[in-house]
C-alpha cells in the first residue's frame, strides 16, 4: 500500500513538472504579453518593466529563474495586480475550498440517495423522474441556474443575498449552483453502479438466505455500488474547487476560479503558473485520496 502511494506521488510530481513546463511555454506563445495594455507604454517604460519582471531574458533563462523562485518557496508577483501570487492564492484558496466542500456536500446528499432510490425502483416512475431531473441538472449550465436562483430565491428568502460574501448563508446559493450539476452526474453514476451490483449473484444469494432488504443494501450492495461514484467524486471535487469562475462572478465570491481565467486572459504569467501549480497539486492529491478510498472499498484493487 505504502509503495503504491509513494509510486503515485512520484508520478504526481512528474505530472506537475510537465504541467508547469507546458504552461510556462504555451502561455508565452499566445499573442500579447502581461505588459499589453489599453494605454500603450512608451518603449523605454516597457523595457524597464520587462527588466523588473525578468521578461527581458530569454525564455529558457526565465524558466530557470521561475524554478529558482519556486524552490525558494515563492511563486513570483502577479504582473497585473502587483501582488505576490502566494498572497492571492492564500486569500482566495480558503474561499474556493469552502464553496467546493459545500457544493460537494450538496452534490453528495442529493446525488447519491437519488441514484440509490432510482436503482431500487428500477424502471418505475420515480426512476424515470429522477433520471429526467438529473439530465436536466447536467444540461442546464451554471450561468442559467445562478441568476435564476439569485432572482427568484434570494429575493424571497430574508437571510439570502443575491450576491456578495460574508457569513455562511452566503455560501448556500453558490454552493447549490455549483453542486447541482455534480449531483446530477452522481445520481446517474450511482444508479448505474447500484443496478450493476443488484443484479449480481451474491445479492440474490443474500436475498435467498432471507436477509432483509435494508441490510442487503447497506451491508452488501452499497460497498460495491458506490465504487464508480467515489471514483468520480475525486476529480469532481477538484473541479468544484478550481472551476467555479462563472459561479464566482455571478455571486461575487472571492475565490480562485476567476484568477485562473483572468490570468490567462491578461497573460499574467506568474499568477497563471501559480494557479496551474496549485490545481495540479490538488488534482493529484484528490485522485490519490480517491484511489486509496477505492482500494479500501474494493479488495480486488489491493494486490
Amino acid at each position: 500500500m505504502l509503495k503504491t502511494i509513494l509510486d503515485r506521488l512520484l508520478q504526481g510530481i512528474v505530472v506537475i513538472i510537465c504541467l508547469l513546463t507546458l504552461t510556462f511555454f504555451l502561455i508565452r506563445l499566445v499573442p500579447g504579453d502581461p505588459l499589453t495594455d489599453e494605454k500603450a507604454m512608451p518603449p523605454q517604460v516597457r523595457a524597464e518593466n520587462m527588466k523588473i519582471f525578468k521578461l527581458d531574458k530569454s525564455q529558457p533563462v526565465q524558466y530557470l529563474y521561475y524554478w529558482k523562485t519556486l524552490l525558494q518557496g515563492e511563486m513570483g508577483i502577479s504582473i497585473k495586480k502587483r501582488q505576490p501570487v502566494s498572497m492571492i492564492i492564500s486569500q482566495s484558496f480558503p474561499v474556493s475550498v469552502i464553496i467546493g466542500i459545500t457544493g460537494m456536500f450538496i452534490a453528495v446528499i442529493i446525488g447519491i440517495p437519488a441514484g440509490i432510490i432510482a436503482a431500487l425502483k428500477h424502471n418505475s416512475l420515480i426512476d424515470n423522474g429522477t433520471m429526467f431531473l438529473a439530465m436536466l441538472g447536467i444540461s442546464i449550465p451554471t450561468f442559467v441556474v445562478g441568476p435564476i436562483l439569485a432572482k427568484f430565491v434570494a429575493t424571497q428568502v430574508p437571510f439570502l443575498k443575491v450576491a456578495g460574501w460574508g457569513g455562511p448563508f452566503d455560501w448556500i446559493l453558490p454552493a447549490i449552483t455549483l453542486g447541482l450539476g455534480t449531483a446530477a452526474y452522481l445520481a446517474r453514476i450511482t444508479r448505474a453502479g447500484m443496478l450493476d451490483i443488484l443484479s449480481q449473484d451474491f445479492i440474490r444469494t443474500a436475498k435467498a438466505k432471507g436477509a432483509d432488504q435494508k441490510s442487503i443494501i447497506i451491508k452488501h450492495a452499497l460497498k460495491g455500488g458506490l465504487v464508480p461514484a467515489i471514483a468520480y467524486i475525486g476529480p469532481a471535487f477538484a473541479m468544484l474547487i478550481t472551476g467555479s469562475f462563472v459561479v464566482e462572478t455571478i455571486f461575487q465570491v472571492p475565490g480562485m476560479g476567476q484568477h485562473f481565467v483572468n490570468a490567462t486572459k491578461e497573460r499574467d504569467y506568474f499568477l497563471l503558473q501559480g494557479m496551474v501549480l496549485l490545481f495540479g497539486v490538488l488534482i493529484v492529491m484528490v485522485n490519490l485520496a480517491a484511489d486509496i478510498l477505492l482500494t479500501y472499498l474494493n479488495p480486488r484493487l489491493r494486490s
Partner: protein, 636 residues
C-alpha cells in the same frame, strides 16, 4: 462513508464558526455612514505611481489628495487640497504651491514639499518604469530625465564635450524608433550575429545600452554606427563617459523643475505655459507618496515594494486604508489626521470589485450597494422605467471611434476612409445598440469647458457614395476585403454587425468581422495589424490635449499609422501659446487638420450610466466622474 460525512460536516461547521459575520443591510451602512460602491475589479495595485486605471483612481482619490481638489458642483473651480494656494507667474510656466500648514499623513507625520519632490523624482525615475510618467512631462527637464536622454547631461552640458556639441549632436543617442525592439526581447546581446548587434545598438542608441554592451563596443567600435568623421579618441572618451556613468541616477544633473523652497512651499517650473496645471494636480500621478514610508520598504526607484500593503499604507487624504482583502473588498475609514477632518461626512467607504455588471445591478436592486460602477446597456431601459430616481445618465469625458489602418493599401485612400465614415450612422448605433444616451461625435475631442467640438463628420449616405465613387472599388465593392477587429466583450459583436449592415447598405461592401479576446485585440491594434478597429479613449484631465496629443507620430496610442507634420506643428504652437482662449482655438485648428484626413471615424461621446441610491447626498454629475468623497454624505 459515515466517517467521511462526519469529517466533511465537521470541517464545514468549524469553518462556519470562524467565518461568521453579521449581515449588514444597506440601511445599517447608511446609518453608520459607510458608502458601499461597486468598483468593477480588483485594482492593479494601490501605488499612485504604478497604476493607470479609472477603478484604481476611484480608490486612490479617497485615500490620497492632490494639491488641488475637485469642486463637488462646478468643475471649473479648484478647491484647496494638499495646497492652500497656488500662484502662477504671468505666462503660466512657473507655479508656486503653498502646502497646508497642518497637512499630515495618516500616521501623523507632516506632509512637506520634500515629499512632493521625492514623489516626482520617484515617478520620473527611468528605472522605476512608471507607465504614466508622461503626465509629468510638462515639468521642465522631466521628459529628458524620465526618458533617459542622458546625452543632455553627459555630453551637451558636460565640460569635456560642451564646446564640441555641434559636432557630436548627431550621434545616435536616443535610438531609432522605427526599428522594432521587440525582436531583441529575450536574447542576449553577446549571442546576436554581428549584423544584429549593429541593428541592436542602432535601435536602442547609446543612452539605452547596458554597461556590458558599451564595453563590447569599446572592444569593437564597429558595433555602433558612429557619425562620419568622428575620430577614435572622441569615440573612446564618449564611451568611457557612458561606461563610467552607467546605472547612475541623473536627478541632480537633470535640474527637473520641482523645488522645495521650504517645508511648505513647492515651486514647479514648466516647459511651456500650462494654464490647466491645477487640473493636472488632481490626477493620481501628481499625488505625493509618503517619503518616510516608501523608503522604509525599499529604494526610491523600486516598484512593487510592501509600502502599499494594507498594514503599511499611509496617505494624506480624507480616508485611510482599513482592510484590503484581495478580490473581496477594500475598506477605507475616515482619516483622523486629515487637515479638513470636519468637512468629511462619511465614516468610511467600501469598494467591491464586482466584475459582472449584471451581478452588480442585482446587488443594487437587492439593497446591497449605494452606487454601481456601471449599468449594462440592456438594463438601462428597465432601470429608467422601474427605478427612475436611481438611474443616472451623465456625460463622460470620453470618445468612441473607429481607427482606420492608414498603412493598409486600400485604406490609404482617403476617399475610402471618408466613404466609410460618412456611411456610419452613429445615431442609430446609439439608439439601438448602445442605448446609453450617448451623443453623436462630430470630432475626436468632446466639448469641454470653453472648447467647442469641431464639426468634421456626420451620417450622410449621399456624401459617402460620392467618396466611394472616387475609390477604385466604385464598380466592384465586393472586391474590397477589409476586416473589422473587435473584442469579445458584451455587445461588441452586435456593434460590429451594425457596422456591417450600415456599410453594406450604403456602400455595398462586405467586411470581415474578427473578434479577439482583449489582450490579443490590444496586441493586434498596437501592431497596426487590422483594417478597421473599434476603440475609445477616456480623457485624463479636462483639456483637449488629452485627446489630441496621442495622434502624434510614434505615440504608442496612435495605432493608426497616420501622422501629419502640419498637425504636430499646430499642437506645438498651441503648447507655447499664453492666452488660454487663443490656445484652444489653435487646438481646434489642429483637430480640423487631423479630421480632414479622417484617420479615424468618431462615433459617439461617452456617457456614464450607473445607479445611485437615494440616500447618497451631494453625488453630482461630473464629467470625469471624480466626485470628491469628502463632500459626500449619507442620509436615511
Amino acid at each position: 462513508m459515515k466517517q467521511a460525512f462526519l469529517l466533511i460536516s465537521s470541517i464545514a461547521a468549524s469553518l462556519c464558526l470562524c467565518h461568521c459575520e453579521s449581515k449588514s443591510t444597506l440601511a445599517d451602512y447608511t446609518k453608520e455612514k459607510i458608502l458601499v460602491m461597486g468598483n468593477s475589479n480588483e485594482p492593479g495595485g494601490l501605488d499612485p505611481h504604478v497604476v493607470t486605471g479609472v477603478l484604481e483612481s476611484n480608490i486612490l482619490r479617497s485615500m490620497f489628495e492632490g494639491l488641488c481638489v475637485e469642486d463637488p458642483v462646478d468643475a471649473s473651480i479648484h478647491r484647496k487640497g494638499a495646497a492652500v494656494s497656488w500662484t502662477p507667474n504671468d505666462d503660466f510656466t512657473e507655479w508656486t504651491f503653498k502646502l497646508q500648514p497642518n497637512g499630515k499623513w495618516s500616521d501623523g507625520e507632516d506632509v512637506t514639499a520634500h515629499d512632493y519632490v521625492f514623489s516626482y523624482h520617484r515617478i520620473l525615475s527611468p528605472t522605476f518604469g512608471a507607465k504614466y510618467a508622461s503626465m509629468l512631462h510638462y515639468i521642465k527637464g522631466a521628459k529628458d530625465y524620465n526618458q533617459k536622454n542622458n546625452e543632455v547631461y553627459l555630453i551637451k552640458n558636460h565640460s569635456n564635450f560642451k564646446d564640441r556639441w555641434e559636432s557630436l549632436k548627431n550621434i545616435n543617442y536616443r535610438g531609432d524608433s522605427s526599428i522594432d525592439k521587440k525582436q531583441f526581447e529575450g536574447t542576449k546581446f553577446a549571442d546576436l550575429k554581428t549584423n544584429d548587434k549593429r541593428n541592436y545598438t542602432k535601435a536602442f542608441g547609446l543612452n539605452h545600452l547596458s554597461k556590458e554592451v558599451l564595453l563590447q563596443i569599446k572592444k569593437d567600435p564597429s558595433l555602433f554606427k558612429w557619425t562620419d568623421n568622428l575620430d577614435k579618441v572622441s569615440q573612446e572618451s564618449i564611451l568611457d563617459t557612458y561606461i563610467a556613468s552607467s546605472g547612475k541616477d541623473f536627478w541632480d544633473l537633470a535640474n527637473v523643475g520641482v523645488t522645495a523652497i521650504d517645508r511648505h512651499t513647492l515651486k514647479i517650473n514648466l516647459n511651456a505655459p500650462v494654464p490647466f496645471l491645477p487640473d493636472l494636480t488632481k490626477h493620481y500621478t501628481w499625488f505625493a507618496v509618503p517619503k518616510h514610508i516608501v523608503l522604509k520598504h525599499g529604494t526610491i526607484s523600486e516598484p512593487n515594494t510592501k509600502w502599499t500593503n494594507p498594514e503599511n499604507l499611509v496617505s494624506n487624504g480624507p480616508f485611510k486604508m482599513k482592510t484590503w482583502k484581495f478580490n473581496y473588498k477594500i475598506e477605507v475609514e475616515r482619516n483622523p489626521h486629515y487637515w479638513d477632518f470636519e468637512t468629511v461626512k462619511l465614516n468610511g467607504i467600501i469598494f467591491l470589485p464586482i466584475s459582472n455588471s449584471y451581478t452588480e445591478t442585482r446587488m443594487f436592486y437587492n439593497d446591497q450597494l449605494h452606487i454601481t460602477y456601471n449599468l449594462p446597456s440592456e438594463m438601462i431601459e428597465y432601470s429608467k422605467k422601474n427605478y427612475p430616481q436611481y438611474t443616472r445618465q451623465e456625460t463622460y469625458l470620453g470618445t468612441n471611434f473607429l481607427r482606420f489602418n492608414n498603412t493598409q493599401e486600400e485604406l490609404k485612400d482617403i476617399n475610402l476612409r471618408k466613404a466609410i465614415a460618412y456611411a456610419t450612422n452613429s445615431d442609430s448605433l446609439i439608439k439601438y445598440v448602445k442605448k446609453g444616451g450617448q451623443k453623436v461625435a462630430t470630432g475626436i475631442t468632446p466639448p469641454m469647458g470653453q472648447y467647442k467640438a469641431i464639426n468634421s463628420i456626420e451620417f450622410n449616405p449621399t456624401k459617402a457614395k460620392e467618396y466611394f465613387a472616387k475609390t477604385k472599388f466604385a464598380n466592384n465593392p465586393e472586391d474590397l476585403k477589409i476586416t473589422l477587429l473587435t473584442t469579445d466583450k458584451d455587445g461588441a459583436k452586435t456593434e460590429a454587425e451594425a457596422f456591417y449592415a450600415m456599410w453594406s447598405d450604403t456602400l455595398g461592401i462586405k467586411i470581415q468581422i474578427e473578434q479577439r479576446e482583449w489582450t490579443s485585440y490590444q496586441d493586434r491594434m498596437s501592431k497596426i495589424d487590422y483594417g478597421i478597429v473599434t476603440g475609445g479613449w477616456v480623457g485624463d484631465y479636462p483639456d483637449p490635449t488629452t485627446f489630441l496629443d496621442m495622434w502624434k507620430k510614434g505615440d504608442g496610442n496612435n495605432r493608426t499609422g497616420w501622422s501629419s507634420s502640419a498637425y504636430e506643428e499646430k499642437l506645438k504652437v498651441a503648447s507655447l501659446t499664453k492666452d488660454p482662449m487663443q490656445r484652444l482655438s489653435i487646438l481646434r485648428e489642429a483637430e480640423s487638420i487631423m479630421m480632414a484626413d479622417m484617420p479615424i471615424a468618431p462615433l459617439y461621446w461617452k456617457t456614464s450610466n450607473y445607479l445611485v441610491h437615494k440616500s447618497v447626498k451631494n453625488w453630482n454629475p461630473m464629467i470625469m466622474k471624480n466626485q470628491p468623497y469628502k463632500f459626500i454624505d449619507l442620509e436615511q
